[in-house]
């Protein structure tokens, strides 16, 4: 085992090289702060701007992914030209409230000490527990996009896209542009949510809202005009197959349908990555509009724990551009906490970021109300596997919830949340089943206790971190 690198001290460590992390690290470096950006990917950009540095102007990929993707190139360039330190392919597997960080890079353990920590760990796609979602060939819509962004790979056999929400429609049009054979689009959005969303429309027409809305209208129009068979109000989705997906079955209105499928891509919105803030014991809250937990943060991204900030989607879904400005605000907040700037300078540095953030957030409430996850996803039927790692069904969880058990007792009794994904894919579902059984909204305590490791680390690596050498 290679000896670990021990305890270099940083003013600020930023976790995650998406828009929030890049913006935060760049701003901090420009303000002469010692800042380290840690990211598990080989290249900066996060999920949204993945592979952006290898993108060639005018290439097919640039055309397919569109201008909102290409935008990220500048953000990455600015970061690269800043004095910020950068550790790619490095994962954070443990962090203490005293901001000792334990990271792993290429099989070598390293410990870091930070005065301030900015978690910009982003979002993940909401779990879509439906019958057959564990079959090979069933992926998230985001997975298809990742294959396109980082490897220029597109499916060449019938793809069924099932879901709803802005990212879903964007990916559908990207698939069309890439020539992916879309067999059918199963739109799970409900027309009746239009009425509930009307109240959020006036605000969505301010700031950058009209830009988002007109893009959305264009996407929907492109999809309509594409001639792809589209089914609306889709419910009771089941994915069928023996050792891999072969068909889907669903209801649209009163009619049942059954279609052949080579690949099924699911998407029902994105949710914050909360494992790090959960492990740190930061205060969390359930967001009724976004149907997910997020850490409680203030304007500066500050959590309930001193020195720990969260920026971007990890603090509640704000989108790429909102995340970038939150990254800036978290950086400014950290500078202030470090004593590098006074309150007046902080507020000056922040005012443009705040205005821009506000402008990018105007359409968010409308989108949240238009595309809430449907009930069959939030609290699936008894037969549906909710914990993929340990193969635990919603029914098993529901039975123990009825007996008054909480998520951590369920973990011990059912092994749900005990597998390698550490409950990332079942934590929210288990919380919603418990809450539904109780007849209330999910409470912060309905989520698993999260302990190390946040990311894989070998016993050999850990063995290098002892007192005895």
């Amino acid at each position: 085992m290679t000896d670990p690198v021990t305890n270099p001290h940083w003013d600020v460590v930023v976790i995650g090289a998406g828009p929030a992390g890049l913006a935060a690290a760049t701003l901090l470096a420009e303000q002469k702060t010692s800042v380290l950006l840690v990211d598990e990917q080989p290249e900066p950009g996060g999920q949204i701007y993945r592979g952006i540095e290898r993108l060639q102007a005018g290439s097919a990929k640039a055309h397919i992914l569109g201008e909102d993707y290409v935008y990220g190139a500048d953000l990455v360039r600015r970061f690269r030209s800043s004095a910020a330190s950068y550790r790619p392919e490095t994962s954070l597997w443990h962090v203490t409230p005293k901001l000792e960080l334990f990271v792993s890079r290429g099989g070598v353990a390293e410990t870091l000490q930070a005065s301030q920590l900015i978690l910009a760990t982003g979002a993940m796609e909401r779990a879509v527990p439906v019958a057959g979602w564990t079959l090979p060939g069933v992926v998230t819509a985001g997975a298809l996009q990742i294959l396109l962004k980082s490897s220029g790979l597109v499916a060449d056999q019938p793809v069924i896209l099932a879901g709803s929400g802005p990212l879903f429609y964007l990916l559908a049009t990207q698939c069309l542009a890439a020539g992916v054979p879309i067999a059918a689009l199963l739109d799970t959005a409900k027309a009746r949510h239009m009425f509930g969303a009307i109240g959020a429309l006036p605000r969505a027409l301010t700031g950058a809202g009209p830009g988002y809305l007109s893009k959305g209208v264009k996407l929907m129009r492109a999809l309509r005009q594409s001639g792809v068979p589209t089914y609306r109000g889709v419910e009771d989705l089941q994915i069928l197959g023996e050792n891999r997906v072969s068909e889907v079955q669903f209801r649209s209105g009163k009619r049942k349908h059954r279609l052949k499928a080579g690949i099924v891509a699911l998407h029902e919105g994105v949710v914050p990555m909360v494992n790090a803030t959960r492990m740190l014991g930061c205060e969390h809250t359930w967001d009724d509009r976004q149907h997910a937990f997020h850490p409680v943060t203030d304007t500066w991204g500050a959590t309930s724990h001193a020195g720990i900030r969260v920026a971007g989607d990890a603090a509640g879904i704000v989108g790429a551009r909102g995340a970038e400005h939150q990254g800036g605000l978290a950086a400014v907040g950290a500078l202030h906490d470090l004593g590098r700037i006074d309150s007046a300078r902080r507020d000056r540095l922040a005012s443009a970021e705040m205005r821009a953030l506000e402008a990018h957030m105007t359409a968010r409430p409308l989108l949240d109300r238009l595309y809430p996850p449907r009930a069959e996803i939030k609290t699936p039927g008894d037969d549906i596997v909710v914990c993929r790692c340990e193969n635990v069904t919603a029914g098993a969880v529901r039975q123990l919830a009825t007996q008054g058990l909480g998520p951590n007792q369920m973990k011990a009794a059912l092994r749900c949340g005990m597998g390698p994904c550490q409950g990332r894919l079942c934590g929210d579902t288990v919380a919603q089943i418990i809450a539904d059984t109780r007849g209330t909204a999910p409470r912060p305590s309905d989520y698993y206790n999260i302990r190390a490791p946040l990311k894989p680390v070998s016993i050999g690596e850990i063995s290098t971190l002892g007192e005895r050498r």
Binding site: T134, T140, V154
Partner: protein
């Protein structure tokens, strides 16, 4: 299964060779092991020990741990977070091919 965009950037045209269960496979520089396996027609990456059923990549971003494969003798590697390298030896359950 999956195919390359014909006019993708020149940088990723650089090919490398690795093996899947002793079968030689060509990948592109910059591919993750998961992307390279999918491009090679593999879809079943592992057998879930709890369900005893085949599983394949789901999220492609390190969250789901469904793409665990054996890489250079080490079991349980996340194929979607590991960059493919020349000469890498990847093992997935036999019978996992779908072409």
């Amino acid at each position: 299964m999956f195919t390359r965009l014909t006019q993708d950037s020149a940088a990723s045209d650089q090919t490398i060779e690795f093996t899947v269960n002793d079968r030689k496979v060509v990948a592109r520089m910059g591919d993750t092991v998961a992307a390279a396996l999918l491009a090679a027609g593999e879809m079943q990456f592992r057998i879930s020990p709890s369900a005893d059923k085949p599983r394949g990549p789901y999220c492609m971003m390190g969250v789901c741990f469904e793409c665990l494969v054996t890489i250079d003798g080490r079991a349980g590697r996340q194929a979607c977070l590991t960059a493919v390298k020349s000469g890498m030896q990847v093992i997935i359950p036999e019978g996992g091919r779908n072409d």
